[in-house]
Amino acid sequence: MTASVSNELAKLVTEAREKFDSALTEDELNRVKAGYLGRQGAISALMRRMKELSPEERPAFGQRVNAAKDALEVALDRRREALRRERIQRAIESERMDVTLPARGGERGALHPLRRVEQDLVGIFRRLGYDVAEGPEVELDFHNFSALNFPADHPARDMQDTFHLEGEPDRLLRTHTSSVQIRTLLANQPPVRIVAPGAVYRSDEVDMTHSPCFHQIEGLFVDRGVTMAHLRGTLEAFAAELFGRSVGIRLRPSFFPFVEPGAEVDVGCVFCDGAGCRVCGQTGWIEILGAGMVHPAVFESVGLDPEEWTGFAFGMGIERIAMLRYGVQDIRLFYENDLRFLAPFA
């Protein structure tokens, strides 16, 4: 009896091992395992036959069955691990992908180049502690001209050909962002320092460098004891930030009715480092902005005492800087909104 049970056990173990090894999937292996090691499995069935043995034989048989079970568990684990590895290997093979294909939903649109420049310029001055201000594009003559020391019937008004509104002699499309200087000083107590970006309008004939609508950014700094040296210091810092290195600036006397002394400001040509090239017209300098000390008449027109307050103002064309920076030859490209023009600014 003992021998027959023992033989059966040995046969069972051999058979189970073979079946484990021939199972092709982990599921199949689990089914096979249940047939041997489960509660209703062959080993359990053999165990239940222990009562056929004499009490003396039982411990030894028990030990042999347990040893066989352990051996089968080991064989099972080994086979399971092998199958798992095979499965992962298959997965690796079958899940190969072309990682060079373009991704889904990653396309980025472009910020308009004028906006990029505006954001950069505003950013520089915000870091220098300036507030941002804005004013309306349809302005009163007062804010755009009279308060800025452009008398009526003065040729200074010819410097800026103006669009007027029909039926409203006092209203016009602002010709510069300098109108925001007046609004800021009327509403706020100095010290003030602001930059004011925005659209401006002049009835110029349209060509490669002129558009009836363009964009400017205005700066105003008013405090006690502000001098032209402060203007120069500020503009030098600005130019270094904008061009990423110290480029050097040059102030030339010029005329804007709302500043005195007035200046046009050049930066050293960043294309030729001042040696002279086509962009700078062989001069080594590129004109980028107008500036000056706030005219006492401007302080008077907003009810501030020019004996107490001094200040400087500056203004520049955003298109001009964008054309220099991005190599745009024709200003009209900015308003056509051709996607092929915009795409590189993504």
């Binding site: 373009p102 220098l128 502690g129 349809v138 019937d153 040729p155 509403a187 004891g225």
Partner: protein, 819 residues
Amino acid sequence: MRVSWNWLSEFVDLEGCEPLATAERLSLAGLEVEGIERFGAGIEAVLVARVDEVSPHPGADRLRLATVDAGTHGTFVIVCGAPNVRPGIHVPFAPVGTVLPNGVEIQAASIRGVPSHGMLCSADELGLDADGEGLLELWGAMTPGQSLGEVLGLPDWSFELSLTPNRADCHGVLGVAREISALLVRPLKRGHGPVASSRLGSPRESAARFEVRIEDADGCPRYAFAVVTGLTEGVSPSWVQQRLRCSGVRPVSRIVDVTSLAMLENGQPLHAFDLERLSGSTLTVRGAREGETMEGIDHAVRALDPDDLVIADEAGPVAIAGVMGGVRSEVSSGTKAVLIECAHFAPSRVRRAARRHALHTEASHRFERGVDPGAVDRALGRAVELLVRIAEESGDRPLVSGDWVDVDRRSPEAKRVSLPEGFVARHLGLEVGRERELEILERLGFESVDGAFVVPSWRFDVSRPIDLVEEVARVVGYDSIPAVMPSMQPGVAVRRRMDAPLDQLAQPIVPRERLEGFTRLRDSFCVSGWNEAIHPAFGDPERQARLMGVNEFLRIRNPLGEETSVLRRTLLDGLLRAVRHNQSHGAERVALFETGKVFDPASGVPDGPEPQHVAGVLAGLASLRWMEASRPADLHDLQGALERLGHAVDRPIRFESPHDIDVPPWLHPGQAAVVCAGGGCVGWAGGLHPELVDSLDLQGPVLAFEADLDEWLAVAPATRSAAAVPRFPGSARDCALLVDRSLPWAAVEQEIRSCWHPLMEQLRLFDVYAGDRVAEGRKSLAFRILYRNPEGTLLDADVERIHGELISHLERTLGAVQR
């Protein structure tokens, strides 16, 4: 304005000065030299020759043989093809061996069998005048064999000055000479003061034949004239012509050229009347009378305005003062006697007249800016002197009559400006030193009297101490001002002025939150693959009306064209044009957004608000990436981008059906959604009306939206607080309802929410189906509700009951059937 270097050197000592360096110095002092032209370089070897005889060329019909006399250089026979070659004229002669400015070397050559010993030249060949055809005929006093350069006053340089409106004083050679004298510390030469000529007597207020009556002394504080007779009008001597060319002025005839020369030299416009064509014996300076007209020398007849200042004789106006003369008294080829006017007219008066009549002349340009009233006599004296000299050189025997009149009604008070000590340093941040300041100002003509400076009569731009600061700064050079960074106490708080006028209180300073909102908004669009567009605010009234269904606009009085004659009320006009532009260039996907102001005429107040809008258009493919390359963009793509936008600015939006609100005309009536944020409507989104897709020639479908950013950003930002993490498991129930195809999801959702049970936690729509598998006119909406008891274990029976009640409610109220 163009200025001749040689002419300048008649007034200021330029010995040893280099023209290019001088130009640079002028530019850095505020007189920008925009261009420099060299005249007469390379004509040193060219001589004056007189043509003595012209005979036919034996071998060529169009060539002739000219025998010319070149004085001590000899007599030469030249083969010449110019049509104007004739005996008696003086012409430029380039002897054999001369290299002309265009590089051509003159060689002894035989032309069609006849030897030619040099060349007779045109102005073009000498580089003097590109339009100069035929031989350059020389006029005036000269002798054969004389150097051409000597006769013409060459070589010379011509500076092109770009003058700012404040520098009226530099509209003449004399003014520029004064400036150079101050900048380079060079003495002025003789003749910058009054003209002393023995030919001219002393001016008087009245004269034998003509007198002047000034009725409007504000408009004309000074009027002078002189009469010269015994003239014949003709071509000016060559040196005059050349000087005019160097000054950018085309020579006309002697009398006209003389008034030009006197103006170019002194900055003072003059006008010559033909004496014999003036009526009566009095010139009156007065305002034009109602109904008066005048035919100008441009032959246009103009109705005059009472504000126009005119010069009138007894028959009516003969000139609009300072702007243009009349054709009736115009100098012509038959003129034998002239009355030369030299006057001072008020700048604003001349400007108004010039603008009213749309005339911009050399004279009005100068008068508007201000002409030195103290130099009227000098300019007139120079004109008479030149006229006499040139007439004599041309063989006339001119006579300056006793009629030299000067009526001066100026206020004798000169402007005085003080310059307190320390004032310059206080504004420049640079110590110049009192002595240096005085020296600079005196060199510029400011006389120091009793601690103040007397402003010279030619400086219209100086009236305040700060103007003197600029003068000092210009001369010491802006580059000597140091660079100092102003001290920046970070975050000086903006303080409203307590004394600000009430109607000016709109705060221009933009809150940081709004600035950052704009930045995030643009970023959000770019991340969604949209591109930013920028259009000018001009609109086409017809197209704007079609989009908006309104006809009221802010209109521009002087538009560049009908298409840009109003201010936009919608950003979609520009964006749809961009769609058309890009589609016509083959764009497969157009996704553009724009932020900008719109202009509503009904805002009423002259200083009204300009709402800031955001709008966008989407057309073509949903994506250019390969996996979605065939799917057209639809409303849901647009709405997704807008929702992301709402989150980006922290003011989430939702879409609602318009119900009974009027849908704007640009929207597809069946695809119109109200964009809601907070409690209200901030904009519209949907398909573009098929009618517009058609008429604007677009490839549809096109999706679009427009929202009022001011209203959107005025909504309170989303608030956040922590939620308890559920500790008990939930249970989900799915449901597919068949409903009428036109029933919006929002209506279903509203019904579900109306019987929301405390055990319900979440509702999610996961499928919408309309097609073969459901009945015609129906659609299936599949949603999932998550149930959870936050306080304990959820009982299946409870969920079944609550869910069952919900379904029956929906079936009852919506006419729905569960699938």
